[in-house]
């Protein structure tokens, strides 16, 4: 019931379409039921009594009703398809908007793949089921009206229908009940099988290198055979549908014939009525078949709908404050005050960042260095409020970042992620993702700052060159520079470089760092790096070890005081010998 209400709410501007559906369905059903009734009239009154006029008159009626039927079902088809597509569109839109409000913590918990499945596969199921709603409304009406008509034609014979329909319904219910469990399991088995498939296609080199094809074959074989078993069981049960219904109808027809025959012989009924009754029986069968056919997709859509609503009902774990209550960061000064954070839960022993304190005046440069997995990236993600710290506070421009709206906070930050994420589109489109109001000059200025202008201009289409989805046409270094330019175009107060120069060769690396500091003076820069050479000129260097601050200071100070820093330095210097 709740679902029906939800669907009604999401119908939005198509509510009137949905409301019109039952009316049209009723009209259509009436027409459909009238036709066999007219037929019996033709046979009994027209043919049997030799009344030519009546025959033609009734015939014309029948044609008129058929045309009316065609028109109503045409409009019904239109209404239903617009409504179903409309609801799906509204749901998709809401879902996508919801995903945009979810925090990283939420998305990690639900899982990227699961969110994408809900967006695509689950929505497809829902769409399919919505298209069947018209039948779901129509079929019971049709059955009801047909039964009423049989009452009207011959009261004494309608018990055959009355007895049969609940029986049908019961058998149908049993079949669905038993097959549903199998279908649910079947979907799981399918997921499992496709999971193995995707992974094994992706990891083919590793499988070859470790010579595990037999093991993988066994794994797949097991998954495929459980799909086969489960699908055999599920279909075996649903395959009972047709024969049972057919049998029930056939039995009804024989009973009808017998009872009808006796009635006709005793003059209580006309032959045309008998044909009419038999036609009605077939009609009822057809309706029940349709119900049986649409119930499985509708039921599986119910599972999908649950999954979609589960996502829609997720309360974002981070609350954004209202635009008008938000402050605006005054400058690029940053302060971490005893910050701790853990991904999985807020148990202190699983913290990946422990008691981080640092203070950065506006316009200064901070270098961060540390082992892989020492949470360097996590630290800058906290600054962007991708996650909120478990303990402590982070301030930007003198205020706790929770006093800013997401938009206000992030508008002063230029972020360059570790993985060079570019979108399908032109270089210009990708750059203006950083700032849609950027002028041509801004764009060129930013690209010159990262030594990207020249290589962009070397492409035949210059800034309008299309980059494919995964950017295969660009080298890693070129992608990284575009990502930095995209961040710079915002003229940020704070620039975050998360190991963003790693794919550049030494010469370009140096050139980029040099021009960055001259082109963007006054910008606070946080630079995560692997190589000491990249950060040694920074105003401050933070050495992270296992999520804790191991040392903080200038290159010289750390070389003198910090063992880890010295070790890193030596490990890199050793190679110079």
């Amino acid at each position: 019931m709740q679902k029906i209400k939800d669907i009604w709410n999401y119908s939005g501007q198509y509510k009137k379409y949905l409301a019109a559906l039952p009316v049209m369905a009723a009209l259509e059903v009436c027409c459909e039921v009238l036709i066999p009734y007219f037929m019996s009239d033709i046979i009994d009154k027209g043919v049997a009594e030799g009344d030519m006029d009546r025959l033609i008159r009734t015939g014309l009626f029948m044609v008129a009703v058929s045309v009316l039927l065609g028109i109503t079902s045409f409009f019904m088809g239109y209404t239903c398809s617009v409504w179903a597509s409309g609801v799906t569109r509204n749901l998709r839109q809401k879902l996508f908007e919801k995903i945009q409000t979810l925090s990283f913590q939420d998305i990690n918990r639900i899982g990227n793949a699961s969110i994408i499945t809900r967006m695509s596969t689950d929505m497809n199921y829902i769409k399919k089921a919505l298209g069947m709603v018209s039948s779901l409304i129509q079929c019971p009406m049709m059955i009801l009206l047909t039964v009423i008509m049989t009452f009207k034609i011959n009261r004494s014979m309608s018990w055959i229908f009355a007895a049969n329909i609940p029986l049908f319904a019961f058998v149908l219910f049993l079949i669905i009940r038993f097959s549903r469990r199998h279908y649910r399991q079947l979907f799981q088995k399918y997921d499992l099988m496709n999971g193995i498939l995707g992974e094994d296609t992706q990891n083919i080199r590793t499988i070859r290198a470790f010579e595990k094809k037999d093991y993988e074959y066994d794994r797949f074989h097991f998954a495929a055979s459980s799909v086969m078993r489960e699908s055999y069981h599920a279909e075996k049960i649903t395959a009972l549908n047709n024969p049972i219904l057919q049998l029930a109808v056939n039995v009804s027809v024989i009973f009808l014939l017998y009872a009808g025959g006796i009635n006709i012989i005793h003059g209580k009924m006309e032959p045309g009525d008998l044909f009419c009754m038999i036609t009605y029986t077939n009609q009822i069968l057809a309706q029940i078949m349709i119900i049986a056919l649409i119930l499985v997709p509708i039921l599986s859509a119910q599972i999908s709908l649950n999954r979609v609503f589960e996502l829609l009902d997720t309360v974002p774990s981070q609350e954004d404050i209202k635009e008008e209550e938000s402050l605006l960061p005054a400058d690029g000064s940053i302060c971490f005050d005893h910050v701790s954070f853990g991904y999985f839960d807020h148990e202190p022993e699983k913290y990946v960042l422990k008691d981080i304190s640092l203070s950065l005046p506006s316009g200064s440069v901070l270098g961060i260095i540390g082992a892989s997995g020492s949470s360097k990236s996590t630290l800058v993600h906290l600054l962007l409020r991708f996650y909120d710290p478990a303990e402590g506070t982070i301030s930007v421009g003198g205020h706790d970042i929770r006093n800013y709206s997401f938009e206000a906070l992030r508008s002063v930050i230029g972020f360059v992620p570790q993985k060079s994420i570019l979108y399908s589109g032109t270089i210009r489109e990708n750059l203006s993702f950083g700032n849609e109001n950027a002028t041509e000059e801004d764009m060129i200025y930013a690209c010159r700052a990262v030594c990207a202008h020249d290589f962009i201009m070397s492409f035949p289409d210059g800034y309008d060159t299309r980059i494919s989805e995964k950017g295969t046409s660009l080298s890693g270094g070129q992608r990284q520079r575009l990502c930095i330019a995209r961040a710079l175009i915002r003229k940020p107060d704070i620039l975050i470089l998360d190991d963003s120069l790693s794919a550049l060769d030494t010469v370009t690396d140096q050139a980029v760092r040099k021009s960055l500091s001259s082109y963007y003076k006054g910008t606070t820069i946080i630079m995560i790096a692997q190589r000491i050479s990249s950060i040694q000129s920074a105003d401050q260097i933070l050495v992270l070890d296992n999520g804790s601050v191991s040392g903080m200071g200038t290159h010289e100070k750390l070389l003198a005081e910090n063992t880890i820093y010295r070790e890193i330095d030596q490990s890199q210097k050793k190679n110079m010998e």
Binding site: G77, C80, F96, I99, A224, E235, V251, P271, Y423
Partner: protein
Amino acid sequence: MNTQKKKRPQNTGRVLIWLLHYMSRYKLQAILVIACMIISAVCSVRSTYYLKPAINDHIIPLIGQRDPDLTGFLHNLLCMAILYLCAVAAAFLESRIMIYISNQVMYRIRTDMFYRMQRLPLSYFDEHNIGQIMSYYTNDVDSLSNMLRQSFPKIVEGGMTCISTLVTIFMVNYKLAFIVVLCELFMICILRILVKKNITHFAGQQQELSHLNAYAEEMIDGRSVVKAFGREKDVIERFRSVNERLFHSSSKADFYANSIFCVTNGIFNIGFTIIAVTGGLMSMHGLADIGTTGTFLLYYRNMYNPLTNISKQFNNLLGALAGAERIFQFIDTPEEPDEGKTELVNVILQSDGSLKETSRYTGHFAFKDCTADKKSSLKLFEGRLQFEHVDFGYKDSQLVLHDFNLSIEPGQKVAIVGTTGAGKTTIINLLSRFYEIQAGRILCDGIDIKTVKKECLRNMIVMVLQDTQLFTGSVEDNIRYGRFDASSADIMAAAELAHADSFIRKLPEEYDTILTHGGDFLSQGQKQLLAIARAAVSHAPILILDEATSSIDTRTEALIDKGFDSLMKDRTVLVIAHRLSTIKDADLIIVLDHGHIAEKGTHTDLLKQNGIYHDLCASLAGSEQQ
């Protein structure tokens, strides 16, 4: 999703033969199915035919009789009941067997595809993307199974019902039958036109749908950028326009699909009227009777469903056959060749110097020539690798290696350096026979690796590859991938050796933490540490490290160094690296330049030569130190 996919099969005959080959295992069942189809079609048509005598001969003549003789009528009804029962039983049996066959066939096709996939040359995966291969398994197999389960039986069944109905009605009253056929033909023509139109709309909808899904996926995967740049609103707006386009094309496609049903239903009802009126007129003029008219109306209705089914299923059938052709071509792709006869076995080095084959790991291996006599053919494995005049190119026209010669002594640690595209990874690929060489020989202890069974060849080499590929499963299982009989203690020792233990301990379930999607919550460096641990549990006597520490910071790398030392002990080692620390200590450094060995020697030797290596070191050192 792929709209460019061919909708029609190229060579229907061959695809059908291939399908029949899969079905041939189920000959008996297939014969039963066909028999059942015939029985059910004939019985159901025949049973309707009994309606006419029931009315004409057994009811109407008896009207008004005081004490009617019902035996004929009852007999008639009994015949009908038996026929109905036969029809239902046959239909049930048919669908049950068909479900069995189709599930079995699908299972066989799937496992055959997988079996073949595991044996395809790697070049196949260079040429085809993963999505494409996946769609063979999902879309194409699904539509094939739908065809076997639904389209095929429905078309055959519908065809049989129609034919037997036509035969019957022409026998009863050819004039009225002629009208029925005209009505049906008209309906079919309209249906064909509409269905054809509908397909184009449907394709349009599919295209918009894949646009939308691609956009959503891109934005969800790249959410850190969307959020960091505060572009949620714009992204939502763009999604809205994509969504709007999908709405328009999908409501149009749905509307066309629905209208097919409406139009045919309308035409059907008009036909129904025409038959009723004509039948009535004819019976008034003595050309027909009430029973005939009534029966014809029922026949007309009975043919409606099969006919619409056939029209609907026909396109599915074509699509499925086109898919079947793709599957069939996939299964028919030639396997990577493996003509090797020599195996690698564990041996015990006996005191008298002779070798004894054993099944357990001893630390000694021997080549066993399976073509020759058993005992004499054991040859102790040492680990000497030789490339002799090797020519190779990924494409025949472009050679990456030309007349390549290299000799590696047992237990040597060899580093390969060179610029991107110099052919470093290629050498490794050739050693494991991921690709076939065009000319020359590669020898291991004097034995051409072509004569070694691929399975054994790859079992004797353990690799840490450039990008780490992990599997869904626990951390422990992933490390165990290096050697299945490794104990938990072995695995922890390997993880400690690779310095992976400390971060694994921090995961929620430690070693039992389930990794999903290739370990999506691990950093690149952590994944590489796992890959090193995975290699460390292996017993293979040859070790290959291809940029194994590229994402690991220098300090952790220095910590693993000790681990590497024990990993490299008693093994022949090939290292590809861009870090000096990994290269310097090698026994032999090979400098590759455009597929040729430009320089060769130890670190100190090469520095003295003042050549490419010297420049390379200077730039590497510069970047690392400055």
